[in-house]
C-alpha cells in the first residue's frame, strides 16, 4: 500500500487527490521511506519499503509503481472524464517520480537525453543495462 502524498520526499509538493498525507516511516536504513504506510491509492500488494541501500528492491518497487501508472494511463486514454482514475493516476505518478529520484540519486541515470542526472561520473555506461551479465537477472550464475 502506498501513501498518496509524497511531500516527505519532495518538499512543498503534494498530489492532487486531497487525501491526508501519511507520516513517513523509516524502513530501517539511513534514508529510506516506507511507502506501505496508510495509503488510499492502494494497489501494491506485498510492497516492501523503498530503500536506497538495496538497488534491486528499489528497482522492483519502481517496476510495480510504474506498472500501475501504465495500466491507469491506458484506462484514462479511453475514459478521460473519470476523475477518480485521474486522481489515482496523479497520485501514483508522484510516487513514481519520488522513487525514481531516489534511484537516480543513489545509483545513476535511469533515462537518457537529459531526463536523468549523473552525479560525479557518467554512470549511464557503468550501471548495467537490463541484459548485462551483472544486472542481477541471474545470468552471471550460469
Amino acid at each position: 500500500m502506498m501513501p498518496c502524498n509524497m511531500n516527505n520526499n519532495r518538499a512543498g509538493r503534494s498530489c492532487s487527490c486531497g487525501r491526508p498525507a501519511p507520516q513517513p516511516r523509516s524502513c530501517g536504513c539511513s534514508n529510506g521511506t516506507d511507502f506501505r504506510s496508510r495509503g488510499n491509492c492502494e494497489n501494491l500488494r506485498g510492497g516492501r519499503p523503498a530503500c536506497p541501500e538495496n538497488q534491486a528492491r528499489l528497482m522492483e518497487q519502481i517496476q510495480q509503481c510504474e506498472f500501475i501508472c501504465v495500466d491507469i494511463n491506458l484506462y484514462l486514454d479511453t475514459h478521460p472524464d473519470d476523475k477518480r482514475a485521474l486522481s489515482d493516476y496523479n497520485c501514483y505518478a508522484e510516487q513514481l517520480r519520488a522513487l525514481k529520484d531516489m534511484y537516480v540519486k543513489n545509483y545513476g541515470p535511469l533515462q537518457n537525453f537529459g531526463n536523468s542526472t549523473s552525479e560525479g561520473e557518467w554512470k549511464w555506461v557503468s550501471q548495467p543495462f537490463p541484459w548485462s551479465q551483472n544486472c542481477g537477472c541471474g545470468m552471471e550464475d550460469k
Binding site: 486514454d77 479511453t78 541471474g138 550460469k142
Partner: protein, 190 residues
Amino acid sequence: MWIYEKKLIYPVKNLRPNARMAKLIAMLLGGPNGEMTASTTYLNQRYCMPVGCVQATLTDIGTEELSHVEMLSVMLKMLLNGCSKDELRAAGMDGWAAEFGDCPFPANWNRESWTAAYVGTTGDPIANIANDMAAEEKARAGYEGVIRMCDDPDTIGALQFLREREIVHYQRFGEALQILYNYYDSKKCF
C-alpha cells in the same frame, strides 16, 4: 520522440539455458502476431486517427509493446546464453546460434525474418482498430500456446504477464472502436 529507460517493464530473472523455449519465444517476438508487429502497427496507425483518445491509446499501447519487445529480447538472450551445441542442434536452433549467437533477432521460430507485410495498417481508422483487436487476441492465443509448452515457472510468470497485457489492450481497443463510432455518428458538416 522516445526516451529510453534503463529497466524492464517486468523483472525477468533466472532463466536457464533452454534452446527449445528460445525457439518459441522467437515467434512471440518476431512472428506474424508477435510484439514487433504489434508495436510497429500501432505506432504507424496513430497518424490517421481523427480523435485524441484513439491517438493516445495507439501511442501508449504501441509504446508498451516496445517494452514487450525488449522483455522478450532479454528472455531470448537468457535462454540462448550458455546452451550447449547438442541442445541447440536438438532444438533446431544451431543455425540461429551460428548466425546470431545469443543475440535476439526478429524472426519466427523457423528463422523466417520479420517482415513489414505483417503490419496491419490501412488508411481507415475503423478497419485499423478492428485489426488491432484481432491482433491482441491472436497474440493472447500465441502466449497461451507457448505457456502450455513451458515447464519453467520463471518463464511462465513472464509469459503470463505478457498474456494478461494482451487482454487489457483488447479491452482498450474495443473502447477506442466505440469512441470512433461515436465520433463518426456525431460528426456534423456545414
